[in-house]
Subunit: 190 residues, 3 copies
Amino acid sequence: MERGYLHGRFPALFFFLAFLLTSPAISTKSVRRIQPCRSLVLFFHDIIYNGKNAANATSAIVAAPPWANRTILAPMMNFGDIVVFDDPVTLDNNLHSPPVGRAQGLYLYDSKTIFTAWLAFSLVLNSTDYKGTINLVGADPLMNLTRDISVVGGTGDFFMTRGIATLMTDAFEGVVYFRLRLDIKLYECY
Amino acid sequence: MERGYLHGRFPALFFFLAFLLTSPAISTKSVRRIQPCRSLVLFFHDIIYNGKNAANATSAIVAAPPWANRTILAPMMNFGDIVVFDDPVTLDNNLHSPPVGRAQGLYLYDSKTIFTAWLAFSLVLNSTDYKGTINLVGADPLMNLTRDISVVGGTGDFFMTRGIATLMTDAFEGVVYFRLRLDIKLYECY
Amino acid sequence: MERGYLHGRFPALFFFLAFLLTSPAISTKSVRRIQPCRSLVLFFHDIIYNGKNAANATSAIVAAPPWANRTILAPMMNFGDIVVFDDPVTLDNNLHSPPVGRAQGLYLYDSKTIFTAWLAFSLVLNSTDYKGTINLVGADPLMNLTRDISVVGGTGDFFMTRGIATLMTDAFEGVVYFRLRLDIKLYECY
């Protein structure tokens, strides 16, 4: 009798419920895309080792094509150079602001015709606001105004997170220093 | 009284609704596994630098064990070699087809006893059909007919995607050229 | 009339249903966090090449800052060294237990002031219990008792999985051998 009640007398109720039942999944998907569950803006500062700044340097070229000497390599946009880095991360664009963590990992240059890079690294955050890591991977065509890479995971406060980080070159001083702005938007939070 | 109505007079309605409420999540999970939300087939072409082909080469060995010279290394299946690449990506197996993008990142050889590799790279796609990047990571035991690696994220048209890429060696010409076929199946789309 | 029935006479039913409809998503999220869908404990064994142990070595330093000789590098905590590895994986802490797979990929040292590493690798498992790969990325501040890295994907039995791996240094014998314990907790299973 109860089934009869539901199906017979009030079919509209059934379909209304069915609609409600499917809609949360759909709306979750679109909300995710439009509305991050968490946003951060961070800056990281890369001081490249140049043979004389070991005390200040935060990164170093550690690999290069075996055939290359710097004369040949330069016109090839550093193709093949792998750089290991441990860069301070700050909340504003001032290198001397108190760091909230470190950006640690590697980047490499991978084009012969234009400066373009590829990144794989972790943001290791340790401040009053954030404790945990965010892991990122992606292509960085650094001559573009903005570039998107993937947040592929996280730990601690960023447990299991995913999202997108938009990179902007905030400063570039020859081969010695650059500063990246990261607009991180997380679309999966736990 | 309304609560009494729901629980007392129509318990079946309650359980029927409870069933409906849990079923969407379950079906989503199984649909994901069986049915990709998006599929792509791409080819990428790797022309390895051999000391004489700088103009055509798309990849180069940039690291190797410090103790190794090529004589020692060769019988060890290139163990430890890291290769940086920027390979053209095409929709068919013809190197000269118009590229729809580039595969950029690194691979390395990591066995002393068999040719086996490990990959971390981005597909940077820029065509009428696809604009965006797909980020991939995984082991590539390249003597196997097929190998699965993980799609760990994406940007642009591939915003936040996840999935599996099945690799097949489509051509292998000594130490100068190989071509991979990627069957990409995405199970999370936004 | 049916709409009138639902909205007019039993508004509480509507809100109760609305509550039910949103709650599954919420409870799924918290269940995920608290309760892994799958757990594994694995050990991996890293025997570092020292110039004399080519037969036994499972890893080798393949890159280092170009300016560095070992004398300068040592006090800098191996900053910039990239190590490629193919380490046996066992179910207990005995190097000579039958391996259930290999850990393959790279790690690098990325601090000048403390031993700290960054990892990107795959667990390639092939045993009666597990067939498939688990892909991991993350920072490894190895002087900490435990460190969390991200499981960013998987294949085979670990199709599309995500989670957290907690690393513990289970043994450390100078520059020749270390053993890591991995407590892997997967929170997304298919």
